[in-house]
């Protein structure tokens, strides 16, 4: 596996659904190398037997009752939609299209 740094950026950008221009990809590739190079100190640390600390505390044990309640009215929820058709978000065709 020998991807070039800018190939890595383009592959990751595709996973992140983020369009990057050619000049951006070049600049990002350089920055990736520099930033991840600095972060390599993590690799030198002995972490055997250490648990992963994903969050400072456990989420609360208590949960609220699972009861239906009013949610945002449709008009309010759709007020910021970039494009809508009736009570729906309008998006490009997804079935029978690409991929």
């Amino acid at each position: 596996m020998s991807e070039s740094p800018s190939q890595v950026v383009r592959r990751i950008a595709s996973l992140a659904r983020l369009e990057v221009r050619e000049d951006e990809a070049q600049a990002l590739a350089t920055q990736f190398e520099r930033i991840l190079g600095q972060f390599q100190v993590l690799a030198a640390l002995d972490v055997s037997g250490v648990e992963e600390g994903a969050s400072p505390i456990r989420p609360a044990e208590q949960r609220r009752a699972d009861l239906p309640r009013p949610s945002l009215p449709v008009e309010q929820a759709l007020a910021n939609a970039p494009a809508r058709v009736e009570d729906f978000y309008r998006v490009p065709k997804t079935v029978g299209g690409e991929e």
């Binding site: 890595v8 950026v9 990751i12 950008a13 595709s14 996973l15 992140a16 659904r17 983020l18 369009e19 990057v20 221009r21 951006e24 990002l28 920055q31 990736f32 520099r34 930033i35 991840l36 600095q38 972060f39 100190v41 993590l42 690799a43 640390l45 972490v47 250490v50 648990e51 992963e52 600390g53 994903a54 969050s55 400072p56 505390i57 989420p59 609360a60 208590q62 949960r63 609220r64 945002l72 309010q76 929820a77 007020a79 910021n80 939609a81 970039p82 494009a83 978000y89 998006v91 490009p92 065709k93 997804t94 299209g97 690409e98 991929e99």
Partner: protein
Amino acid sequence: MRSYAELDALALREETVSGRRSAAQNVAECFARIEALDRELGVFLSTERARAEQRATELDAGRAHGESAGALFGVPIAFKSNFCLEGFESNCGSKILAGWRAPYTATVAQRLVDAGAIPVGMTNMDEFAMGSSSENSAFQLTRNPWARERTPGGSSSGSAVAVAAGMVPLAFGSDTGGSVRQPAALCGIHGFKPSWGRVSRYGLVAFGSSLDQISPFARSVRDLELAMQLISGRDECDATCMDLDALQPIVPDDEQSLAGVRIGVPREYLPASLPAEVAREVRAALAVLQRLGAEIREVSLPHTEYAIPCYYVVAMAEASSNLARYEGVRYGARVEGSGSLQSMFAATRGAGFGAEVKRRILLGTYVLSEGYHDEWYGRALKVRSLIARDFEQAFEEVDLVAGPTSPTPAFALGERSSDPVAMYLADALTVPANLAGLPAISTPCGFTSSAPRLPIGLQLIGPMRADARVLRVARAFEAATEHAQQRPPLATGAAR
């Protein structure tokens, strides 16, 4: 009578409740000050004058009819632009959310409004809270009121300057890696990050969910305590919000005595590389704490040097996930792309996000991707445990940890904007408290002696849930010194 800009929130509320002022007058003076200063300082992304005036009129009318006055009755407040307040523009400093008006209100904002506070507008910030200088805002720079060519810090830049410049006595930001404490230090005011889980995050736009915490700025510690009493506590809309007793200020017999308080100074927080002026003022602050009766000891937090890479790996990973929601379907800008759904997502995100946000989304996606997850994200979470363990061990010997908030005073705008790694280092002393979830304050502790005269902040970090202890020690320090009374040089005809 002291002027609007001189009063802290408690004093302003007292004057308003006693009838020496009205809520409407407070709003008028607030906007006079904003008009006089904001063109130069770049604090607000949007103001809501008509709403604020209407709210003030309602409060004054209620008062005239004998309604009881809330704890923030008639006090103008401001929010960072990543808080949701129904009808206000919460654009997060990003083009992708330009014009987005929140359809609901954050729990914290609702509790403040219920206490009689008056939101006046939304403040500038680094895009999606990613930055330490305001330079990553898609819309404008915010300038340091102590020296206009310098940064006020970030990412809660506008909220910090709103308080430092006397536009509002109390403002709110979010602190993911120091985004409230660092600008508080650079602007000469107080900023407090509560224990993770003490304050509901419902209605705060998410960046790094295991790190984010809503945090207040104020010109007095007692205002921070008041704010914390109002915003703390369980919220059924945020399952990570702890069920804690209300945060009551500890009022000891002798408020200024710190007898019996053990304060640890991590040797890693005062390295030889620290600028002499910062080290000098922090050491002087420690001497003050000692004079008040505290015992000062050296401690060690041996994994401090790993905090920056650990923090950035974790924060970028969480950001890459949280920011997946901006795809041009439900809200914000949309760019159609080449006609397919996938190309619309990519084109929208490519056009809508700024350079730093893209960098972090991509690095975050990378450290979570197949083949790299264990090496980067998994390992960073283990290092996070080691950093938290360092604090636990230190807190077996001491009650609080103290050191500088920022390794440097305010740096020049433009100085670090082309070098992400240099910018990340601004957070070296603030990210450990976020990684461990600990309460921490930045409180003014001095100034540089070389020109320009710039504020320096002292950071106090407490054990998990010991928020009241951190605030109490900061209050004693504030009472024994005059740093927090210093005001930046502002030319305004509205300062009355």
